[in-house]
């Protein structure tokens, strides 16, 4: 059920990204897909995040007729890493989604730039760096509503290793 919900949420985020956000130049640096993916990964863990990242990356690459696999690779790693952070240190911390989005937004931009450079495509570092503050600000602004929605759709699960019995010695 979680998989279906995640698929619907990420598909809508993908459409919003492709058809609505890119219409307005100031909002082009924002990535609602990245924010939605990280929110879901934080709430559902690394494996879920990695698979969701791969699928949504593939959809973005298909929609833009870009090089298949580039966005998938970046979003798979981002989903896995933030999912792992959610599984370990980020439990119930208010700042976790904001910190995750801020760090991954920056790493995503530089990761994309590096991949484009490695593939021999145009990689204008100046334009990418200039876009980072705007991307950070807009993604952080998007985090609050998107994470709230994700938390409602994917309520935090109890920990699997929670103690259900105690052993008394003595």
């Amino acid at each position: 059920m979680d998989g279906l919900k995640a698929a619907v949420v990420l598909f809508i985020a993908c459409l919003l990204q492709l058809s609505v956000l890119t219409e307005y130049h100031p909002f082009r640096t924002a990535s609602i897909v990245l924010v939605a993916l990280l929110s879901i990964a934080l709430l559902r863990g690394s494996l879920f995040g990695a698979v969701a990242g791969f699928a949504v990356g593939l959809m973005l690459d298909t929609g833009t007729l870009g090089t298949l696999g580039v966005t998938s690779l970046l979003l798979t790693i981002a989903g896995f890493w933030i999912g792992r952070y959610g599984e370990t240190t980020a439990r119930d911390r208010f700042h976790a989604p904001f910190l995750s989005v801020a760090v991954v937004t920056m790493l995503y931009v530089f990761g994309q730039l590096t991949l484009e450079f490695v593939l021999g495509e145009a990689a204008p570092a100046g334009a990418a760096v200039r876009g980072v503050p705007g991307a950070l600000l807009l993604n952080l602004l998007l985090t609050l509503p998107v994470y709230a929605l994700a938390r409602r759709l994917f309520p935090p699960q109890e920990l699997g290793d929670r103690v259900r019995e105690v052993r008394l010695l003595g």
């Binding site: 609505v20 082009r28 791969f54 690779l73 920990l159 699997g160 052993r167």
Partner: protein
Amino acid sequence: MPRNRTVRFAVLGSSVQRAAPYGFPSSRSSAIRRRIVVGLLVLLSLVLITLSFRSSALDGIQGDGATALRPFETAANRVARPFRDTIGWFHGLVNARSENKKLRVQIAGLQQELIQDEGAVQQNAQLTQELNYQAPPSVRAYGQVRAEVLANPLSSTEDSITISAGSVNGLQTGDVVVEPTGNPDGTGALIGTVDRVTSHVSRVMLLTDDDSAVTATDLTDSNVIGSVRPGGSSLILDRVPKEPNVRRGDTIITAGSLGDGPLKSRYPRGIPIGTVTSVTNSDADLFQNIQLQSLVDLSSIRSVIVLTPPSNR
């Protein structure tokens, strides 16, 4: 005191059975499974990059995927249109007074120019006929395919858009893309060229892409021949010698070329590209340093016209 090793259980729930773990798995087997899955996904991504970059084996699948996504993107565009129009309406309202004043001045100037140009057009037609002059193909010789923009560039480093027309509409790689206007022939300024074609969706490389280069000339002086290329946040007209002079405010158009050989220009002559914003000369440079402002806002395009050469049809 002897240590009592007897073990007693105190049950906190109704059952002493430990429930199957759910939520975030933390066991060793889960960690291994997690790593295997992520490793496979990363490997699959790398395989996709290699296949997509080195061959066209995945083009068909990607084209079908893009075609499947097209109705959803179009629907999202339609849903967002009222909001977009509202924003545009308010934006227009703010600038209306100053724009009105500017346009009135512009109209007065253009009316004067139109009278002069009409005489020149008649003279040109007469001389062309008398001299049997073979001019480069004009826009009118090309077919027109109108298409909606499905996706603008996703980031500030990308310079391509996706449009809702493909090979079934007669598009081919290299076709010229212009903006639609209210001109008699319907075509406006240059946007770019078709870069990748699938059955129903195509990708357009914008003028600002690093791989883009267009042979261009000055509308007022056909001796000026150069190449329009991206230059930072604007365009530059490169390879123009220091004579003849290009002036600020001049309109730069596509040069086109004659001939049927492999080096024939893909661009018809006379498509406006941009206006000259600055011209600088330095003793160290062989060429003038000319900066242009595109006549189209390349960051936000909603629809396009693709010019299909007569041979495509």
